[in-house]
Amino acid sequence: MIWAFDLITLIFLVITAIISLQTKDLLSAAMIFGVYSFLMCLLWAGMAAVDVAFTESAVGAGVSAVFLIATVLRTTRRSSD
């Protein structure tokens, strides 16, 4: 673990988490959630848990982002609250 790499990744992790909760446009929230998953994947890889990082990048950043985008495009794009 390199502390500078960890610090930058964790800062971006918190930023993407807050943005994906706060943004009104659900499509961009889904995209930013994919970015969040990819940053988590980088963190797992930094902790030498490559199997977990692999799963996170395939399931979290890849397929579940597609599922969320498909759901947003089939329902509504604006958040009500």
């Binding site: 673990m1 902790m47 490559v50 199997d51 990082a53 692999f54 799963t55 395939a58 399931v59 890849g62 397929v63 597609v66 599922f67 498909a70 759901t71 495009l73 089939r74």
Partner: protein
């Protein structure tokens, strides 16, 4: 109500963060998780016992094989649940909204079509490598199956759902998902028939051209293939149900 939720979140977050200071530091050899003799056994004995270099896969598919079998069942059930909630017959759907029957074919875009034509075989080959090499390097049935399913999702995104359904129609999706779990539990029952415990792969050397140690490695590959079957089918099924609003005709 909103301020009450905020206070709850802040309190829970503070509780969790205050517990973090009690954690052992990263990579601490003296921490209970690393010090206990079970993890020592996994680290030192995995390769002599099962001839699998990747001990994560060995724990996942062999020592904790029963858990992984039901994880696969969970994925299967999730896919069935999404299908039973979203799937509708196209005829009722058209009657409800009064839409006219029309062609759902999209005009193929040259750049997207060519790129996906080049990319999809490489993605599928990589997925097969991840499944087949999962007990030697990072990867395994879940990851490989998800990547293989993603290649069909890419086909459905770049063209239309019918193009992908030529390869994985709905009936085949259900068959593949069931066959995956049958392969996994079949390995377990084969061990029982030969007179050992459920999912105790060592006994399978009697019907495999391998030593007892190698039989565990080969059986891990077998159950990973089963997991990959289920993951591929269910991932594509979830996407096609979500993207077509349950009628399996229209895509995004």
């Amino acid at each position: 109500m909103k301020s009450f939720a905020l206070i709850t979140v802040i309190l829970t977050g503070w509780l969790l963060l205050s517990a973090v200071s009690d954690f052992p530091s990263w990579g601490d050899t003296e921490s209970p998780a690393n010090d206990y003799r079970l993890s020592q056994h996994y680290i030192t004995e995995t390769f002599p016992e099962s001839s699998v270099p990747n001990m994560v896969t060995a724990v996942l598919a062999d020592y904790r094989g029963y858990d992984t079998m039901f994880e696969t069942v969970v994925i299967f059930v999730a896919g069935i649940a999404i299908m039973s909630i979203l799937r509708r017959k196209p005829l009722d759907y058209l009657k409800d909204t009064g839409r006219e029957t029309r062609s759902y074919k999209k005009d193929p875009d040259l750049i997207i079509d060519t790129t996906c034509r080049l990319m999809i075989p490489i993605i599928q080959l990589f997925a097969l490598y991840v499944v087949a090499h999962g007990h030697h390097s990072p990867g395994g049935g879940f990851q490989g199956g998800v990547i293989f399913g993603a290649s069909f999702i890419l086909l459905a995104l770049s063209r239309d759902l019918q193009a992908a359904q030529r390869w994985v129609p709905e009936k085949r999706v259900l068959n593949l998902a069931g066959i995956g779990i049958l392969i996994y539990s079949g390995f377990g029952f084969a061990c029982m028939i030969l007179g050992s415990n459920f999912l105790d792969y060592e006994i399978l050397h009697k019907i495999m051209p391998a030593t007892p140690v190698e039989a565990r490695s080969h059986s891990m590959l077998g159950v990973e293939i089963g997991v990959a079957f289920t993951c591929t089918a269910i991932m594509f099924s979830i996407y096609s149900n979500l993207a077509s609003n349950g009628d399996m005709k229209e895509t995004l």
